[in-house]
Homo-oligomer: 205 residues x 2
DNA sequence: GTCTATAGAGTGATAGAC
DNA sequence: GTCTATCACTCTATAGAC
């Protein structure tokens, strides 16, 4: 019995057969390492070592390192858009802006690494992969743009330039990833409230 | 005569002697490549190739790759703090906040790459180097924190949490690096005005 | 100061045994 | 499905000629 079997609690299985657990573990470890050290600084051997397999075994789950990054980012963007579609999109522009702001921040609770790599690792995607991810990012940001434009048209918001305001708000909200820690002095709900207060005032609502 | 001599316009000099020009060129190229592709993804050979020398020649100017990154970031932070000290720090908290906001954005005009790597490449610093840069970053952010606290105390600003507001505003302002291009539809002065409008309202001034 | 050459370690990815 | 072993490079950094 090797060390990994103990960790898995998987004592009855054939020695080297863990397809159901290894796949998710690889994604999990890669996500954490990419977020902590950056895609380019993380080797396949390092990922394998933390998973508890040899480097060659990774290639049963991913054709190459680039696909690993792309799949993580792509899965994240799909999940983000799906979760966003479930969240509140009704009401006045102010209501919708509050829903968007709180949604984006609350999404950090379970997926802080995903949000972090989604905006930090874009430059490490191949051109073809970049186009796909950038398209999904655009879809997400367009939701915010739409809210801001609607608010300006209805007179609820006073914004000089809604396009730039979109970028500014997204940057501000994404910044949460760089300092928020679950064990810190503030809960994520506190953070939501503080940011919503600033966003609401910033747009003039 | 080699190709580099033609580029330099430096035809009278001994073949391989360019200490006065090569040093700055290395820093310039490294800065641009680190900003575009990330420190870990850029090799010394790639820097050397763009400068127009062989990789070994770089080590006449830097003891190692890490020092190159550190020197760029350290020089930038020193320059940023020095330039900031020259800018307006008088008046009401609102005046001071406007000066800080405009200063930070206008600094993108000449040093967009420096600002970008200063917040993107922190994780690629060795622990000892990280401590130094993080200390300088703290000094800079403390200036903003001080302004926000003063504004809250004087009743000019309405902020739930000035510490979080500092992070939020810094993130928002740094976000300019991710989308602003000199050849775009807006001048940096336009951007200053748009951001200052949002910051001013966000703090409740 | 720059060159060529190279040491020594590490890289992504593959082949074949089990 | 995982292992060991390895290919073919690339990496940082150094040594010594010029």
């Amino acid at each position: 019995m090797n060390a990994r079997s103990v960790i898995d609690g998987d004592m009855a299985r054939t020695t080297g057969s863990h397809s159901d657990i290894t796949g998710p573990r690889i994604r999990e470890v890669a996500l954490r390492l990419f977020a902590a050290e950056g895609y380019a600084a993380v080797s396949m051997r390092k990922i394998a070592a933390e998973v508890g397999v040899q480097a060659g075994a990774l290639y049963n789950y991913t054709p190459d390192k680039q696909s690993l990054l792309f799949d993580l980012m792509h899965g994240h963007m799909e999940d983000l858009l799906a979760a966003r579609a479930q969240a509140g999109t009704a009401g006045t522009p102010t209501d919708r802006l509050e829903a968007f702001t709180r949604f984006h921040i609350s999404y950090h609770e379970e997926r802080p690494h995903e949000i972090f790599i989604a905006y930090m690792e874009l430059r490490n995607l191949t051109p073809e992969n970049f186009v796909v991810i950038e398209g999904l990012r655009g879809k997400y940001e367009d939701e915010l743009s739409g809210i801001l434009r609607a608010g300006v048209e209805s007179g609820e918001f006073t914004l000089v330039d809604p396009r730039v305001a979109t970028r500014a708000i997204i940057s501000m909200l994404n910044g949460v990833t760089t300092w928020y820690r679950r064990e810190g002095r503030l809960s994520l709900t506190d953070v939501e409230t503080i940011y919503w207060d600033m966003v609401r005032k910033a747009v003039g609502a």
